[in-house]
């Protein structure tokens, strides 16, 4: 049923962004290595990956601030390149770094940006008032940037990205360094935008964020796309429904695998923990109780498991 709806959706919607064998090199370093993907109009598409996976390099090419090394990239039926002002005119960017203008106040920041998009003065005033309300910063309109908290700065970046009423919004790790309240507020706003029909492109290393927001994701690692799809289906395909973590030394592997292995669809050892993946964890948990293994966690499978399984659980540097 779900897949039928998805294929129906994809046949109705046409891609707003298409990448074919897209490459980005910095000197000899390959940041993005021949990736292909399509982003549909109106969906939220997530690029997931550890630091240095090539997520930011990819989205920078989409919003035309970084030239392609090779491959093709089409955004709204035009080829993306650094001098494409049309794409920039219709794209809103929420950058990873806080790039607000510290010499200006909150409303001046928006006012100056409205100019960059050729928005006439009166219209700009109206939009600025609306957007400050949208991100709950009305009371801060005349504050200077250094008087804002990190969460407020991030919200102002969202308001700034919306000034030109973009059809595509690129959010590059929009909640990095935020407390849970601020993070949830930003998620709500992003979902609200999506419900208005905006195409949302998200990069993140927080799996929860991807699960909360994205219709489809791709998992990137070392410049390549490892896997892509609907988050829930990816979890089901790669991991199953449930995960059992047993903290036990490697010396016990033989014993544990003999007892539990047949009840699980897969297993993995990382450091002091043995992971078992399964569709239905009940038989396995029964066995765990029989064996009396107190240091055990049983939980639903998450995108984080997929991510760690694909990119490896050891530290990536």
């Amino acid at each position: 049923m779900e897949s039928a709806i998805m294929s129906l959706r994809q046949s109705i919607m046409k891609p707003i962004i298409t990448a074919r064998k897209l490459c980005k090199k910095y000197g000899k370093f390959k940041a993005v290595d021949r990736i292909s993907f399509e982003i549909m109009e109106g969906e939220c598409f997530g690029f997931l990956g550890p630091n240095g996976a090539g997520k930011t390099s990819t989205v920078r090419m989409i919003h035309c601030v970084s030239p392609l090394t090779s491959g093709t990239l089409t955004v709204q039926d035009t080829a993306a390149h650094v001098d494409n002002r049309t794409i920039k005119q219709h794209t809103g960017v929420i950058p990873q770094e806080i790039t607000l203008d510290n010499d200006l106040t909150v409303s001046e920041n928006l006012r100056v940006f409205a100019h960059f998009f050729d928005i006439p003065g009166q219209e700009a005033g109206k939009r600025i008032a609306e957007l400050l309300k949208f991100v709950e910063l009305e009371k801060k309109r005349d504050s200077r940037i250094d008087q804002l908290s990190t969460g407020m700065k991030r919200r102002l970046l969202i308001a700034r990205a919306l000034l030109n009423k973009p059809r595509i919004i690129i959010a590059d790790e929009p909640t990095t360094g935020l407390d849970p309240q601020a993070r949830h507020l930003i998620w709500q706003r992003l979902r609200q935008l999506k419900s208005q029909g905006v195409t949302l492109i998200l990069t993140t290393q927080y799996m929860e964020e991807a699960q909360q927001l994205c219709d489809r994701i791709v998992i990137m690692h070392q410049g390549r796309i490892l896997k892509g799809g609907v988050p829930m289906r990816l979890i089901a395909e790669e991991i199953g429904r449930e995960v059992t973590e047993i903290r036990a030394g490697a010396d016990q592997d033989e014993k544990l695998l003999a007892a539990l292995g047949p009840l699980a669809s897969g297993h993995e050892r990382v450091g002091d923990t043995l992971y078992f993946y399964c569709g239905d964890g009940r038989p396995l948990m029964k066995k765990v109780l029989e064996l009396d293994l107190p240091d055990t966690v049983h939980r639903p499978a998450s995108l984080e498991d997929v991510f760690l399984k694909l990119t490896g659980r050891s530290l990536i540097e």
């Binding site: 910095y26 919003h63 601030v65 970084s66 030239p67 650094v82 001098d83 002002r85 920039k88 005119q89 794209t91 960017v93 950058p95 770094e97 806080i98 790039t99 607000l100 203008d101 510290n102 010499d103 200006l104 001046e108 006012r111 100056v112 940006f113 100019h115 960059f116 998009f117 050729d118 700034r160 030109n164």
Partner: protein
């Protein structure tokens, strides 16, 4: 090269931010040239007395005017631009809008020239209060145009330096090795004709020499045919520096 009318927006952004520190910059850009006027002009001028039939200050003021344009424009496009580019990442957010990298850099060069004009203009007002007047109202207009013209030159040269500056300290090389020698070898404080030949030749390679020559001619209303050469040197250098500066900055901004 991808220029558009959006250069004006970048200039306007600088103007909006300028209102917060306009007074401090007035002071900063006045102090050094004022010292020159007082120490050299009044102090030393008292010993020198008349100079080509006029008090020494008439020789000094047009040179100091142009020097203050050079200083302010250079520093704005070094320190000012560097802060905006590296510390505040302002260029990164600019180039994500329909403003191109070329627009952004050209807007900042125009801004540097404007800051130079403000400094030079303030000096001219101070000089007028001291009773040292340009020869006619036309001279005032021409001097203003010259200050903008020279401002663009030094802003563009500074932009080239900024395009490969790894940090603030790097700017010391440019100010110590280029700006300071120009100050003393370009005929700002005394005529160059007593210099040995090789020094005269060297001074011809300094853009300030030509700018000061034009400034002095306009201030005193004494035009000669040699000024065409001075003007051409600045014009050619300026066009080259502008294009190279924009190109190198774009290379640094877009990766």
């Amino acid at each position: 090269m991808n220029f558009s009318y959006r250069i004006v927006y970048v200039f306007w952004r600088n103007l909006v931010s300028y209102k917060r520190f306009v007074l401090t910059t007035f002071l900063a850009s006045l102090i050094q040239p004022l010292f020159y006027l007082i120490t050299f002009g009044i102090g030393m001028g008292a010993y020198i007395g008349y100079f080509g039939g006029k008090p020494y200050l008439y020789f000094l003021v047009p040179g100091v005017l142009i020097t203050s344009v050079m200083m302010t424009a250079s520093f704005e496009c070094m320190y000012g631009t560097f802060v905006k580019m590296v510390h505040e990442k302002l260029y990164d957010s600019l180039i994500a809008t329909p403003v191109s990298a070329e627009d952004a850099v050209a807007g900042d060069i125009a801004w540097g020239a404007f800051r130079g004009l403000v400094s030079g203009g303030l000096m001219m007002i101070v000089a007028i209060f001291m009773g040292i007047l340009p020869v006619s109202p036309l001279s005032v207009v021409l001097l203003i145009l010259l200050m903008v013209f020279v401002g663009i030159l030094f802003s563009s040269l500074a932009m080239i330096v900024t395009s490969f500056a790894p940090n603030f300290d790097f700017f010391n090389y440019y100010s110590e090795l280029v700006i300071t020698p120009m100050l003393f070898f370009s005929g700002v404080f005394f005529p160059l004709d007593k210099f040995p030949g090789w020094m005269k030749t060297l001074s011809l390679f300094m853009p300030l020499t030509h700018a000061v020559a034009i400034s002095r001619a306009i201030f005193l209303g004494e035009y000669t045919r040699g000024l065409i050469f001075n003007f051409l040197v600045i014009f050619v250098l300026e066009a080259a520096a502008f294009l190279i500066g924009v190109k190198l900055m774009k290379k640094r901004l877009i990766k």
